[in-house]
């Protein structure tokens, strides 16, 4: 079939026509080899624009189409569809980008027109060699994996499961709930965090379509969109959860007391424990690092086991259902899912490196999470805000932007600290009679009802100082400062240095990526932005998808955000997963690599190079083969093959060389 090429130059209003002489480019194109028709039109992407193409295919027998307009990311699918609707294989279409690559970046009209001609010439030469390709469809497994059991994971899991599809929810610690379970009240409505969270946790625990895998971690992900194979390591809990009733007797018997992570070090727990009262599932685990019996076993000794056998002398029985099992081992289970939602959350910034704030050195300088636990009535102080000496503070300073908006730590704004600091101010007024001072750079109260909350806090009599403290010190300069913590700062509204003596300082720490986010990103083959958070596909128009099809992100693992935004994003991720599931099939791009089995020597260089693990070695034939469903068409294997055995559909050497020659004409 002799190529009959149609070329269409788009004006894009004045976007292209403003700097490129489109009519001249069309005249130029008309003279190129194989071109039967060249036109220019105001908006090629419009209905009438597309009709021009369809009409020429039908009436003039055009069998290759070049549109010179914007970026392929923008409209390649539009024009491919137009070709297809007129009965032409969509891969006979080629796009020349004369907007982003030309008119928008070139000021001189003559030069811009010349460049547009070169780009059109390149596209025309290339399309000459295009081949008809078929994209394929694969079935989608209707199960979904949700990784991380904080509020984002809980929300996403419930939304997917409520539609009647199976969800595997994997959580690293022994209970779901995440950071939200640690919070006291939530801004700006001041609902109790646990009161709104625990019903959702219970729903997850009892949902017929959710399989909850807590105290577990993802070990390996294989497969591709619609067909992932996931290995999950269920860590040994040394307790048979099918028997454990969560009664807590074992916790009373255990003699080993360690610091409780859930209480951020303010409270204690036992070596056999449930992180908090409302834990879901309501089961205990044994912390092998601290358990006397497990440590003893390593040395060949049989010690303690009080949780199991009780105290015989006093007639106190141990676990009555016989759930303690010291022989338990880690177990790896494998599940198959079609979509994955990653909701691994954040890590609270550790302020220790900011020496001038004295965290860890000065008593009564505490982090926001420590305050959160202290003010929580279920927390270690029973909801009383107390100094180290057990008395109530008469004055408290709240320092904003600790670790955030700071060139030395994190440049970004953590988005929640202004609001939670103001919540703290309110709670302090409620729980104590202390004077409260907020030290801020800017108040960011952007959400629904947030500015009103700020005004409310102002009216309650909290004093706001605009200035980031330089130092928190216990070195007094006046008698009034003796025995106090002094906040030294520049009051930028007054324009001078000031010192404010207080009893307690709360550092409103920012949110940062989880310490293992790099490993997790590699595990799921997703990218991270410069700040370390997981990268969405498009910051505005595709905020929950990732560059890996079938893997979605939601919540603070994507960027710091508050609970309403997290819940909205988690629901969006669930909707994306459900849309995929209800479509049932996924189309696989036809521009994939193919290996010529006659040329392949089986050296497997391509396997090592492939970033998508899309190439496998066929032992029987002794050659490598491409899994088209996994192949993204990146072409790394083509460049790396020492035997020239790999070629990439739609990017063949012939096509690329012709394109280059065309550009150089």
């Amino acid at each position: 079939m002799e190529p009959r090429i149609g070329v269409y130059i788009c004006h894009c209003g004045s976007n292209i026509a403003g700097t490129v002489d489109c009519e001249d480019v069309a005249r130029f194109a008309q003279g190129l080899e194989g071109v039967v028709i060249a036109r220019d039109y105001k908006f090629m992407c419009s209905e009438p624009g597309q009709d021009l193409i369809k009409q020429d295919i039908r009436e003039l027998g055009v069998n290759r189409v070049v549109v010179a307009s914007c970026s392929p990311t923008m409209h390649e699918p539009t024009f491919r569809r137009a070709c297809q609707e007129a009965g032409l294989n969509p891969y006979f279409f080629e796009m020349a980008n004369i907007r982003e690559h030309c008119s928008w970046v070139t000021e001189d009209r003559a030069k811009a027109t010349q460049k547009a001609m070169a780009l059109v010439s390149a596209a025309v030469r290339r399309v000459y060699y295009h081949q008809s390709l078929e994209s394929r469809e694969v079935d989608i497994n209707p199960n979904t994996l949700v990784v991380g059991g904080g509020i984002a994971g809980i929300q996403a899991a419930l939304k997917v499961a409520d539609s009647g599809h199976r969800v595997y929810l994997v959580e690293r610690s022994s209970s779901i709930g995440g950071h939200m379970a640690q919070l006291d009240k939530t801004f700006p409505t001041l609902d109790c965090s646990a009161c709104i969270l625990t019903p959702k946790m219970t729903l997850v625990g009892s949902h017929p379509y959710i399989e909850l895998l807590t105290y577990s971690e993802i070990e390996e992900i294989a497969g591709y969109v619609g067909n992932f194979k996931v290995k999950i390591r269920k860590k040994a809990r040394y307790v048979d959860w099918s028997k454990c009733t969560g009664c807590g007797r074992c916790q009373e018997l255990c003699p080993t007391i360690v610091s409780n992570e859930f209480e951020v070090g303010l409270g204690k727990r036992k070596a056999i424990y449930k992180p908090f009262a409302q834990a879901v599932p309501n089961k205990v685990v044994i912390d092998a690092e601290n358990c006397r019996h497990l440590k003893g076993l390593a040395e060949g000794k049989d010690v303690c086991r009080l949780c199991q056998r009780g105290i015989e002398k006093k007639g106190v029985p141990g676990c009555e259902v016989g759930a303690i099992d010291f022989t338990q081992q880690d177990e790896v289970v494998e599940v198959e899912v079609g979509a994955i939602i990653v909701t691994t959350g954040f890590h609270l910034f550790d302020p220790t490196p900011i020496h001038q704030y004295g965290y860890g050195r000065l008593d009564n300088v505490i982090t926001s999470m420590e305050f959160e636990r202290m003010v929580n009535s279920a927390g270690p102080t029973g909801g009383h805000v107390l100094l180290k000496d057990g008395t109530e503070p008469e004055s408290v300073a709240l320092i904003h932007c600790v670790g955030s908006r700071d060139e030395q730590y994190h440049k970004y704004c953590s988005r929640v600290c202004c609001m939670y600091s103001m919540k703290f101010a309110h709670l302090l007024k409620e729980h104590t009679s202390a004077d409260v001072y907020e030290f801020y750079i800017d108040i960011r109260s952007f959400g629904k009802g947030y500015e009103e909350f700020y005004n409310r806090i102002l009216e309650e009599g909290t004093v706001f100082f605009r200035g980031k403290p330089a130092e928190i010190t216990d070195v007094a300069e006046t008698p009034q400062e003796e025995g106090k913590l002094i906040v030294q700062f520049e009051d930028t509204l007054v324009g001078r240095q000031r010192r404010v003596p207080v009893d307690m300082v709360v550092l409103s720490c920012g949110l940062e990526p989880q310490p293992d986010s790099e490993t997790v990103a590699r595990l799921f083959n997703i990218s991270r932005s410069a700040d370390g958070f997981f990268l969405e596909k498009h910051p505005k128009l595709d905020p929950v998808a990732t560059m890996t099809d079938g893997i979605f992100i939601a919540g603070c693992c994507q960027s710091p955000k508050d609970i309403p935004d997290t819940v909205a994003q988690a629901s969006a991720a669930a909707a994306e997963a459900l849309a995929m599931i209800s479509r049932g099939k996924v189309e696989i791009e036809a521009a994939t690599a193919v290996i010529n089995e006659h040329l392949c020597t089986g050296c497997q260089v391509c396997m090592a190079n492939c970033p998508y693990s899309a190439i496998a070695f066929d032992e029987e034939k002794g050659v490598c083969q491409v899994n088209e469903a996994l192949c993204k068409g990146c072409g790394v294997c083509v460049g790396g093959c020492p035997g020239d055995a790999v070629s990439l559909n739609h990017y063949t050497n012939e096509q690329l060389l012709a394109q280059m020659e065309g550009a150089l004409v």
Binding site: I354, H355, Q356, R361, T473, D474, V475, E477
Partner: protein
């Protein structure tokens, strides 16, 4: 014996004579050879840079060019010289165009700088370069019972150049502990001594010096130790004025850190220039001697 190009700076030969003497005395005992840079000139100092940055850079760069010819690290005991030389060095290394301009000026004196010198402070050398344990090994008289407030001043640790923390430095503390003395908790250890404001804004500077002395006294220090000649002058020479202005009675000798090391190494008072200290260290020395003879 490790060799270094030595840049004493002007203070070590004038207001900080005790520093110049003790640095050389201590270096010999600790297997450090400080070879004075031949024909060195003013470092450029802070005031020059404020008036004409490029000229100040050329003045500093001349020293760097001389040091580069020796192929050795350039070591200075003065915190002010350290910051000035180090800053000039970093700027020149980072900005080739500036380097070209500066080299044009240096060419008149037949010199050229290529950015190869490493500028070090003597405290950094004592902390990082010498064999760990060497000081402890060479000690003849442990300064048992002596409570020292380690005073870093600002220029040794900021702007941040790397070898110690700007907000909570620790290098002097460990040197003091090495000697058998006790480094008392000293929360103002890196706060401002007033610097050259003592000449133009005396009241303000005396207030700052008072804060430093008060915190040392409150924390039970018998004396202070510093690696900066300007800090030493302010705390030592103006202690009397602080006492009369604030009705205080401080009697805190202000040692150069190398003087303290020298004492522990058993070097004699004269070679450490202890006679140049204004607040007399006699009481402290007697107390140490007492410990030694067991009284």
């Amino acid at each position: 014996m490790k060799d270094y190009a030595f840049y004493p700076g002007c203070s070590a030969e004038s207001t900080g004579r005790g520093y110049g003497l003790s640095v050389q005395a201590v270096a010999g005992s600790l297997e450090i050879q400080l070879i004075e840079l031949e024909d060195w000139n003013c470092c450029g100092s802070t005031p020059y840079g404020s008036l004409n940055e490029l000229e100040a850079m050329v003045v500093a760069a001349r020293n760097l060019a001389l040091a580069e010819k020796t192929g050795l690290d350039l070591v200075t005991p003065c915190s002010s010289c350290y910051v000035t030389l180090k800053k000039a060095n970093l700027h020149l290394q980072d900005h080739p165009r500036l380097m070209a301009m500066v080299n044009e000026a240096l060419a008149v004196a037949g010199l050229e700088y290529h950015g190869k010198v490493s500028v070090r402070h003597i405290v950094e050398v004592l902390t990082d370069d010498i064999t760990p344990g060497l000081i402890t090994e060479k000690i003849k008289r442990r300064l048992e019972g002596l409570k020292v407030a380690p005073y870093y001043g600002c220029q040794l640790v900021r702007p941040q150049y790397g070898f110690d923390d700007a907000e909570l430095p620790g290098s002097l503390d460990s040197l003091i502990e090495c000697l058998g003395a006790e480094a008392v908790p000293y929360p103002v250890k890196a706060r401002c001594c007033g610097g050259s404001l003592i000449l133009s804004e005396e009241d303000l500077a005396l207030g700052l010096i008072n804060k430093l002395l008060k915190s040392a006294a409150d924390n039970g220090a018998h004396c202070l130790a510093t690696p900066c000649p300007l800090c030493q002058t302010n705390l030592d020479a103006y202690q009397g004025k602080v006492n009369s202005k604030f009705k205080t009675g401080y009697n805190l000798p202000v040692f150069f850190i190398t003087q303290l090391i020298g004492l522990a190494l058993g070097l004699d008072d004269k070679s450490l220039g202890l006679d140049t200290n204004i607040v007399s260290p006699r009481d402290v020395l007697t107390q140490l001697a007492g410990v030694k003879s067991g009284t």
